[in-house]
Each structure stands twice: as structure tokens, then as C-alpha cells.
């Protein structure tokens, strides 16, 4: 927890510096959070080819609206929810069609061809399952399962209650298990 607090304090200082006109503070915030954001967007269905654009667009939106960030959650969590909206808007503009590549990490983890094939198939099903989830369930699931956030933090970022976030997560898990069976 102290680590999270120091991260939050560092982010807050960078945000204040950016609001004061320091461009390098904005660049530093991008460096700190871009990879986590990319991972979140990638898991949420962002095509590889569009990932850089989506990450940029998310940061631009976040910096424009940073005056409304009141520290109700971590800056990164807030950023991820903006990323989810950016991705949703992009999907609406370009349609839901996307290529589902097998993740290199999953493929290369194991040398056994059978295990590799099973892992790839499982990953593909999980991606498809995630894409079929309602927006809120998908966001809660990824914030919890991928980013490892507490329900309180997720609820604060999404403007809901921890109990509701928990319910969304369990619905998501149930549906994902069904899609993997």
C-alpha cells in the first residue's frame, strides 16, 4: 500500500507540473503508464496495428480532461477506463472486425507443440469471450484479473459501488468459463 501511495503521489506531482505547463511531465506520465494501458487495450480487443494510435488517443483525452481527475482512484486506473471508452468509440467507428493473433508470450512459453496449441486455442476463446461481454463486465474483469486492482479502486474509477463491481466480475468469470468450455 505505501508503494501505491508513493506512486499516486508521484503521479499527482507530474499532473500538477503538466497543468503548470511542463510538457516533460506529460511525457513522463506516458512513459510510466503506456505499457500497462497497451496491455489493457490489447486484452480488451484492440488490434495490434491500432494499438499505438489508441494509446496516444487515450493519453490525449486524459490530459485534456485531467482537470476533472480528483484523485478518487489511481491515475492509471482512471487512464484505463478512458482507454476502454476510446476503444469502444473506435470499435463503433470501424466495426467490430478484428484479427485475433496468437499472443507470442503464450506461444513461446512452452516448447511442447500440443501444449502450445492448447494455450493458443484457449487464448483465442478467452479473447472471443471477452469481446462478447458487456462493456462494464469486460472492464471490471480486466481491471481485476489483469491489473490486479481491488474492487474499491475499480468501483471508484467506474463510478459504481464495490459490491456492484464484484457482481460484474463474477458474471464475467461465469460467462468466460462458459465460453472456454
Amino acid at each position: 500500500m505505501p508503494h501505491a501511495q508513493s506512486l499516486a503521489a508521484a503521479d499527482a506531482a507530474l499532473i500538477a507540473a503538466w497543468q503548470g505547463g511542463d510538457e516533460q511531465a506529460a511525457a513522463e506520465l506516458v512513459r510510466r503508464h503506456a505499457r500497462a494501458l497497451a496491455r489493457f487495450l490489447g486484452a480488451a480487443g484492440a488490434p495490434d496495428a491500432d494499438l499505438d494510435d489508441l494509446v496516444q488517443e487515450t493519453f490525449i483525452r486524459a490530459f485534456r480532461a485531467v482537470g476533472r481527475f480528483r484523485g478518487q482512484c489511481q491515475f492509471r486506473t482512471w487512464l484505463l477506463t478512458i482507454g476502454g471508452n476510446v476503444l469502444k468509440d473506435a470499435a463503433r467507428r470501424f466495426g467490430q472486425v478484428r484479427v485475433v493473433p496468437l499472443d507470442d508470450e503464450l506461444r513461446s512459453r512452452d516448447g511442447d507443440p500440443h501444449e502450445t496449441a492448447v494455450a493458443g486455442e484457449t487464448e483465442g476463446r478467452l479473447r472471443e469471450g471477452l469481446e462478447r461481454l458487456p462493456h462494464m463486465q469486460r472492464e471490471v474483469f480486466l481491471l481485476r484479473a489483469q491489473q490486479g486492482l481491488e474492487y474499491e479502486e475499480i468501483a471508484a474509477a467506474l463510478g459504481t459501488s464495490p459490491g456492484a463491481a464484484r457482481v460484474h466480475y463474477h458474471h464475467a468469470v461465469r460467462r468466460l468459463k462458459e465460453s472456454l468450455e
Binding site: 506529460a26 505499457r35 486484452a43 489483469q146 468459463k177
Partner: protein
């Protein structure tokens, strides 16, 4: 392989953590940071304010109101101009020689209407005594 055994919550979380990891690793963070800073520099700093975020919506509403009001004013102005012109201008535009004496008197009467309304005495009492040629001459004078 039994999927039910394999896909416990922990396994699901592990898979979720791996999703998108490869793509994220390939992201050129420094290039992204510089691109974001460049885009921010190109856009005015005033965009940081919360209220300005609403500007596109306000602008659309304001533009719609201006368009509606403008169109209404223009239409009203055109109708106002057109009514008297239509009532009086049509006969004047035609060849006066085709009109009978009664039609000429009617037209002259219509042309004199605004002046007659201002004077309680009504139409020029001498109009009835004019012949066709005199009426045509009077109309041409009024027309010019």
C-alpha cells in the same frame, strides 16, 4: 484435457494477465510519449479546462439556434417585402394597353391605397372622371 479443472479462477487470471502482453512489449513507449507531447503542443492549452470540454456540444446547439433564427428572420423579411409588391406590381409589369378602363382604375386605386389610408378623404375624387388614356398616363407616372 478437462477444461473445468484447468480453468479455475487463478488460471483465468493468469491468462488475462498474458493477454495483450506481447503487443504491449512491442510498443515504442518513448516514441509514443513524444507523439503525445507533440499533439498536445499542437492543440491549445485552454482545452485543459473542464468547461471547454463541453464546447463542441455548446457550439452545435448555438449554431443550430442561430441558423433557425436567421432563417426565420430572412423568411419573415422576404414575406413582408413580397406581399405589397405582389399585389401592386403584377399589373404594372403587364402591358397597360391590354387593360380596360375599370381595371386601370382598380390598379390606380391599389397604388394609391397607402396614401389614401393616411388621408381620411379617401381616393382622389377626380379618378372617376379620367378617361382611359389619362388613366394609362397616370399609371405610367406612378410606375416610374
Amino acid at each position: 484435457m478437462n477444461m473445468d479443472e484447468e480453468l479455475q479462477d487463478g488460471r483465468l487470471r493468469e491468462l488475462a494477465r498474458l493477454l495483450g502482453a506481447g503487443a504491449a512489449e512491442r510498443l515504442d513507449v518513448e516514441r509514443t510519449a513524444q507523439a503525445v507531447v507533440t499533439r498536445l503542443r499542437q492543440q491549445p492549452r485552454v482545452m485543459l479546462g473542464g468547461w471547454v470540454w463541453m464546447q463542441p456540444a455548446w457550439l452545435k446547439i448555438a449554431a443550430a439556434i442561430v441558423l433557425v433564427l436567421g432563417a426565420g428572420l430572412v423568411t419573415r423579411g422576404l414575406l413582408r417585402e413580397r406581399v405589397p409588391t405582389a399585389a401592386v406590381g403584377a399589373p404594372l409589369g403587364e402591358d397597360l394597353s391590354d387593360l380596360t378602363a375599370d381595371q386601370l382604375r382598380e390598379t390606380v386605386g391599389a397604388l394609391e391605397q397607402p396614401f389614401a389610408e393616411e388621408s381620411p378623404g379617401g381616393l382622389d375624387p377626380g379618378l372617376e372622371s379620367l378617361n382611359t388614356a389619362e388613366l394609362r398616363a397616370l399609371l405610367r407616372t406612378l410606375e416610374s
